[in-house]
Symmetry: C2
Subunit: 224 residues, 2 copies
């Protein structure tokens, strides 16, 4: 590994429901699209709050990126910085770059919050019965956002001309809805997600994350 | 108004609980810190989904910004673009700018989601009893994030040296917790929020939003 090789952090293993959905996937995908080889520093489950990890990620999370340009945390910041240096992820026109910048924030701060809330209700809330009673309000909020997004996408393949970092981010958010079936009501969005996930760079990124989990599965077998 | 004067969008009125918390506050605050005079195009309540508004904001929301550099939506994107052009909101050192960039995303994508979820449970959920039963899990998630944030802030006044766009964003998120009392358990964060809110630019931004609501209150009196 040279000083120039990007080094990202990822977990060595996560439970089944999270496999293929951990946020290092966003960074892997961006690096794969940009054609930049990278190394992965694995954070063992349970060591998130170790001093070394908190020093590079204040919330003890992954992913982070270290490369010749410095250290970054938060998948949104990392993906954007990668994108700024790759025509595979952003157009050269400043106005279109700004449009992609806005859509990247829309993915993370307008679409993802209700999508995450649904995951919290369906997976992490201890009072299952109460969670199911709250659920319809959140589903309604998500459907409102999806309707606006589908309308904005229109007949286009991607949000801003060709595939950009904004699509990368939006699709990683939308595919978290797969098990809920909510995308079924929005065929153009369903096709949009399928289109992006068919990209070789996405497939390589996904396989990278899953391969690590397979390699470490036996060590965590008791937890499953 | 010249072509160079930034034009933002904001609502002409919102119900009491939202007054002082609508997201144009972030953009007003950034422009006030940067010393850039601006104009406000008011979106009447109920007209969010009108074609003219959706054309500039795909989800029919506010704020947007139009200036000589183009049109932007999403408060995160707008505030960052304003900050890049003002030393009042970002240091000149590239490494420190990157750090602020990461913290801006942390505010919007790590801290805000559980804070917003609490607001959904406390204000918008129709099944009040179920919402209160889900609440402890969300409070716990928020407290974990606040503990990490307070630790990262340490003895410093702000997240990255002097006040930056990252603090602007983080404080607009944290002050939404005021009514919950959760900041009381994190005295350094409480002081951080008070410190930022004491800035003249914040006060001017807040007064700008509230003055509009006062001026239009009688028109919406029946709704209150």
């Amino acid at each position: 590994m040279t000083d120039q090789t990007p080094l990202i952090t990822a977990y060595d293993w996560v439970p089944d429901f999270a496999q293929g959905h951990v946020r290092d996937l966003r960074v892997r995908w961006a690096l794969e699209e940009a054609g930049r080889p990278y190394e992965v520093d694995l954070v063992p489950q349970g060591s998130q709050r170790a001093a070394a990890n908190v020093a590079r990620q204040p919330f003890g999370q992954i992913p982070t990126l270290r490369d010749a340009a410095g250290c970054l945390f938060e998948s949104g910041a990392i993906v954007w910085r990668i994108a700024e240096r790759s025509e595979a992820l952003l157009p050269t026109d400043p106005g279109l770059r700004d449009k992609a910048f806005c859509w990247l924030f829309a993915a993370l701060n307008t679409v993802e919050p209700p999508v995450s809330m649904l995951a919290v209700l369906d997976i992490f809330t201890r009072d299952r019965e109460a969670a199911q009673r709250v659920r319809p309000d959140i589903v309604s909020a998500i459907e409102h956002r999806l309707a606006s997004l589908q309308s904005a996408l229109g007949e286009n393949d991607y949000l801003v001309g060709d595939f950009t970092a904004a699509d990368l981010m939006m699709v990683t958010v939308l595919r978290n809805l797969t098990s809920s079936g909510l995308l079924g009501g929005f065929p153009a969005l369903h096709a949009y997600v399928e289109r992006a996930m068919a990209r070789p760079a996405f497939q390589a990124a996904l396989e990278g994350q899953l391969a690590t989990f397979r390699q470490n599965a036996t060590r965590y077998a008791a937890a499953e």
